[in-house]
Point group: C2
DNA sequence: ACCTGAACACCGTTCAAGT
DNA sequence: ACCTGAACACCGTTCAAGT
């Protein structure tokens, strides 16, 4: 409405510095302590007061979404590389693994992502990456369906959920890699058209 | 070691009363606020000090495990009823739904259960129900494998994980019932031998 | 316009003092 | 032997005071 700084093109230098410091500190803390890390500690490490953190990122989700942006872009970059594989079935499989790794970036990440997956709360900033990734998954699914390797009843969202589940299980540490592989195989065998290669 | 009350057969009347009151209050709070509810509030509602709660249940998991015991027994009761179905494939399917409901008893329950699933921490009291339920699942799986409807590579633990995942997804509210059904169908189609009924 | 940091609320957990 | 509840530590969040 007014000529406030909201849309201004020249944020003050200290504002930019604070934002960058916050993002860097947040990423470090998310990596080390998971998404539930103390925001107070993040602010302290960024060298700002807690109020400054809340001004820049009004919720934990907003901070998370900002930190995730880089990773989402990297994932999209991989998307093009994967698509070049030619084999739609193989591409879908690879994509699901890439998704899973994305969900495993920080301990506890699947939880807030799932909470944002259904766009019930339009204010949740995590809805953005969820939408993008679900849409991308859907493209892979449809490509594979066109070649007849994936069942028609499967939706991209279903496999988005499945990949998130596997990442969640991995994060809880409830399984070794072998059990995870059996689970992945079970899911793959679930979405594939019958009569395929084992 | 000593003649302490640890093994005594006659717990003091107030001890029994406190324990019962704590369990009842805890169940109410778990139901209403999920497994992360304030233990301080539980103690207050039970009419005891926080110290008393910690004396009876040294960790949140211990309290949870005690509250879950009733439900586990109910589930085992259902197990016998389900087994009477005759059709091993149908029985497995029903059992997995019963498992899923068990995991959905309290919001946030899948998380601590998964953390206890792999018996890495022998002190975790939640390992007990996990072991029982995994073993039970394995029996259903093997019965179905004998009739040839379930793939040989599937283990009971895999489906235990899968059921827990579905409950977790349901708990995050990320989906409507329709998407959950697609997911359940995907899992079923994943563990079933190929060439079966759709 | 933005930052600071004190202040408030809330909770988990412990432990000295009681009975 | 068990209970009580004050006390400590920690964190999220807000907001009056500063620059």
């Amino acid at each position: 409405m007014s000529a406030s700084g909201q849309q201004g093109r020249k944020p003050r230098a200290d504002v930019q510095r604070n934002r960058a410091a916050l993002l860097e500190a947040a990423q470090r803390h998310f990596l080390r302590y998971g998404v539930g890390t103390s925001l107070e500690a993040v602010a302290k490490e960024a060298g700002v007061g807690p109020g400054t953190l809340y001004r820049h990122f009004p919720t934990r989700e907003a901070l998370l979404a900002a930190v995730l942006q880089t990773r989402s872009e990297e994932l999209v970059a991989r998307q093009e590389e994967i698509a070049r594989l030619g084999d739609a079935d193989k591409a879908l499989e690879q994509w699901l693994r890439a998704l899973e790794e994305y969900f495993s970036a920080f301990s506890g990440l699947p939880e807030p992502l799932m909470a944002a997956a259904r766009a019930l709360d339009p204010g949740n900033p995590l809805t953005v990456p969820c939408d993008i990734l679900t849409t991308a998954t859907d493209e892979y699914v449809r490509a594979a369906q066109r070649t007849g390797t994936v069942r028609e009843s499967v939706q991209g969202y279903d496999l988005f959920l499945a990949a998130c589940s596997v990442a969640w299980i991995k994060g809880t540490g409830a399984t070794d890699e072998e059990a995870l592989n059996r689970l992945r195989a079970l899911i793959a065998s679930g979405y594939r058209e019958r009569g395929d290669q084992m």
